[in-house]
């Protein structure tokens, strides 16, 4: 091992020791350290170090706070290099900056965000031999096994001869493996929420007689990433509505717990918004077997209940971001709704129908770079900057209205 050598007043730290020090820092600090001096930059640039750091930084105690991203997917047909593709533009909500623009092959769409990764999956879904209905994909990660990312594919057959509804779950780590029976039908409205090493998926009911799905959200399907087992929980009982509507509910992480948010309508007008939080389960629950679900009454606590004044026709909330705003788009006139106010977006030309956007939580940057797949950054002449007018307007509104905590302007340039 190299030893420290004295050179005038300052001493050089050997690169291996410097890397030891940097391994103990969160990702952002390491990225900042690139700018200290040339030896430091070289230390961080080393791919082995980056790999090691990305693995260790995923451990919960070291993790940065989760960030909120705005991901905008625009379909483009460009002859030439990329052909028909989707351009995914990723913006950091807290700072309002564009992070990167990545070309994604056309049939792929955003599934979920898991730590430092955005998972895009092929829409058409690989047709597995036994099942040919909707698939739900999610990338999962458990802090207990930091180097392992697993892709879960949940397939929901449209009918089955057994009396129980089956969910086929395929887990891809290095090789595809097993099937696990579960219950319920998936819904694609909401990406699965990854909380503390478990994936939470909202599932709808299933009616044996009609051999179809009745599309009412009924249960949360929880997959433990590390053990690849699963269980289900009932959704909270709601006194103010008979059932939840599929498009008007969301599950997401709130301060490390699963939060279930629901718009409660009365005759198509938004009346209430409920936020339920799952309380930690009692130890005895751990022994419950997979098939029966939770036999005890589900442990939900109603955290917030907001009454909405004035008729608001909300047909579909689009995204949920931290801490509490719930965004919803009202068709022709885009309006951002927080739980306590309605924020008017500046008048931007309506985005074209080939564009989708999503606000995704749970992103924790790691040192592994997505830039291998990136476009060059947009320049003024390119016209692409104009193409993001809607996103810029949205980010401005979110920041100015204090919806998202903003960083101080004194960032070092």
């Amino acid at each position: 091992m190299a030893s420290l050598r004295e050179s005038s007043n300052a001493r050089e730290i050997p690169i291996e020791i410097l890397q030891e020090i940097l391994l103990k820092l969160p990702t952002k600090d390491v990225a900042r350290c690139c700018c200290v001096s040339r030896p430091w930059r070289a230390a961080v640039a080393d791919p082995t170090f980056r790999d090691l750091h990305a693995a260790s930084s995923a451990v919960a105690s070291m993790a940065d706070a989760a960030e909120v991203l705005l991901v905008s997917e625009t379909e483009k047909s460009e002859p030439g290099r990329n052909g028909d593709h989707t351009e995914a533009s990723i913006f950091n909500v807290a700072s309002g900056n564009a992070m990167c623009h990545v070309a994604v092959p056309r049939p792929y769409r955003l599934a979920n965000v898991c730590h430092g990764f955005l998972c895009f999956v092929h829409c058409a879904g690989a047709k597995a031999p036994a099942v040919n209905d909707g698939h739900l994909f999610a990338l999962g990660f458990s802090p207990a096994t930091p180097r392992v990312y697993k892709l879960f594919r949940l397939s929901f057959p449209s009918y089955s001869y057994s009396s129980r509804k089956l969910v086929h779950m395929d887990v891809y780590t290095l090789a595809p493996s097993d099937h696990q029976p579960g219950g319920g039908v998936g819904t694609e409205s909401w990406p699965p929420a990854l909380i503390d090493g478990k994936l939470h998926v909202m599932t709808a009911g299933w009616n044996l007689r009609h051999q179809g799905s009745d599309n009412t959200p009924k249960r949360i399907f929880v997959i433990d990433v590390r053990t690849e087992t699963c269980r289900t929980y009932r959704l909270p009982d709601c006194s103010e509505a008979t059932a939840y509507k599929k498009e008007l509910v969301a599950t997401f992480e709130l301060d490390g717990r699963l939060c279930f948010a629901a718009h409660i309508l009365s005759r198509d007008f938004l009346m209430f918004i409920h936020f339920w939080v799952r309380t930690p389960s009692a130890p005895a629950d751990q022994d419950k077997d997979v098939n029966g679900g939770n036999k005890r009454p589900p442990c939900w606590e109603l955290l917030y209940r907001f009454e909405i004044e004035g008729p608001i026709c909300a047909d579909r909330p689009w995204g949920v971001c931290s801490p509490t705003p719930l965004t919803s788009d009202q068709g022709r006139r885009p309006v951002l709704m927080r739980w306590d106010q309605r924020l008017q977006l500046p008048d931007t030309r309506l985005f074209p129908s080939e564009r989708r956007w999503n606000i995704c939580r749970g992103y924790r940057p790691s040192l592994l770079s997505p830039l291998t797949f990136a476009f060059p950054p947009p320049s003024e002449e390119d016209g692409r900057v104009n193409g993001h007018r809607f996103e810029h307007a949205l980010l401005r509104v979110l920041r100015c209205n204090g919806g998202i905590s903003t960083k101080e302007e004194s960032n070092e340039r």
Partner: protein
């Protein structure tokens, strides 16, 4: 392994600092704390006097004495029972060990000494301390704290920003 001595004295390892000061620790302690000692003691045979000498002639006495102090303490802690109390006491001892009077120069000297005999425990502790010192600081502040020269050109700075654009600094 070294041959067992016929004498009854404990074998010692001596570190010699700048200025010829000697600091001793028992061989058992050195075996636990220092990788170089472990490797060396595998093939050194004791003859005559019962001590192995390690020269750290470019390091001041104070860091060397702190190093020996650390090794002795670690070895003692390793033998006592592990418990939450013991862990807490160890943490408190480490805080006092690298207390406010340890400035950046002393820290570097300590690191130097630890690296020379490959005392992994102390290397880890000093690294943690340095990481704590620079966490959350801007690059300029880091340079001030650690006395590092800024040798990056503006072009290189821009390059760095682009290279890491997905991490929102």
């Amino acid at each position: 392994m070294a041959a067992a001595p016929s004498g009854s004295r404990t074998r010692m390892v001596t570190l010699i600092s700048k200025g010829g000061r000697n600091f001793k620790m028992p061989e058992a302690v050195a075996l636990v704390s220092s990788r170089s000692c472990r490797e060396a003691l595998d093939y050194i045979e004791y003859r005559g006097n019962n001590t192995m000498m390690i020269k750290l002639l470019d390091i001041d006495p104070k860091p060397v004495s702190m190093l020996v102090n650390f090794c002795n303490h670690m070895a003692a802690a390793a033998t006592s029972a592990a418990s939450d109390d013991a862990a807490q006491r160890m943490r408190e001892w480490e805080e006092r060990f690298l207390g406010d009077d340890v400035d950046q120069a002393l820290l570097y000297d300590l690191l130097s000494a630890a690296i020379s005999i490959q005392a992994d425990g102390l290397i880890d502790l000093v690294c943690k301390r340095v990481a704590h010192m620079i966490k959350g600081k801007t690059p300029q502040e880091i340079r001030t704290i650690l006395g590092i020269q800024d040798d990056l050109t503006p072009d290189q700075r821009d390059e760095i920003r682009t290279d890491n654009s997905w991490i929102d600094i």
